[in-house]
Point group: C2
Chain length 115, copies 2
């Protein structure tokens, strides 16, 4: 794998559907699994667990297990992840603001393609 591919692989991981929402949430302070599950609409437990593990593995989240009964597990964004917080918030805000416009562009394209 070339170095160029690795940078792209990093982007693919960070830019993934659920990663952006998780990093943004965990950059504002430690969050628990169940809090993320509640706040990220549409994510399954399995996808949340998988995405958290991948982000931890990439050094973008720190996972802390507190020795309570039951154990409390918290996730927080690392300094590395915080560097892109503003860019991720910009993308999220943009996507929310323009989703209707993009849906309309898509529908118009499909009508042209069908005619």
């Amino acid at each position: 794998m070339t170095e160029e591919c690795t940078a792209r692989e990093v982007l693919d991981r960070v830019g993934g559907k659920w990663s952006i929402a998780i990093i943004v949430a965990a950059a504002q302070g430690p969050v628990r699994f169940t809090e993320l599950e509640r706040s990220i609409d549409g994510i399954s437990r399995r996808m949340l667990a998988l995405t958290l593990r991948n982000l931890e593995r990439d050094g973008l989240l720190t996972r802390t297990v507190y020795p309570t009964v039951p154990p409390k597990v918290e996730y927080v964004a690392t300094d590395l992840a915080r560097e892109i917080y503003d860019a991720l918030v910009t993308l999220t805000t943009w996507a929310e603001r323009h989703r209707a416009e993009i849906a309309a562009a898509r529908a118009a394209y499909d009508r042209r393609a069908a005619s």
Copy 2:
């Protein structure tokens, strides 16, 4: 599909592996298919064609066909896509700067998981 899902779908499309590089390239002026193919290391003709079509469909790229022989086809980022240009450049620069660090984090995680 809820509105929330649609915003996430938009992010997934924009944040995709190849989309970022294509939008960044096409925000600097019209580019041709072959220019993109040469400048984006590792992309296949098929993936480039597919990603260009999806970005055009979402209203993020404009495709212009000039009636020359052979026809000249150019792609340029729309105003909508230009709004996230800075954020995408930030992500790209960050990924390039930190890819070694992220690869090291990954390797360390895997060693811990294996022990």
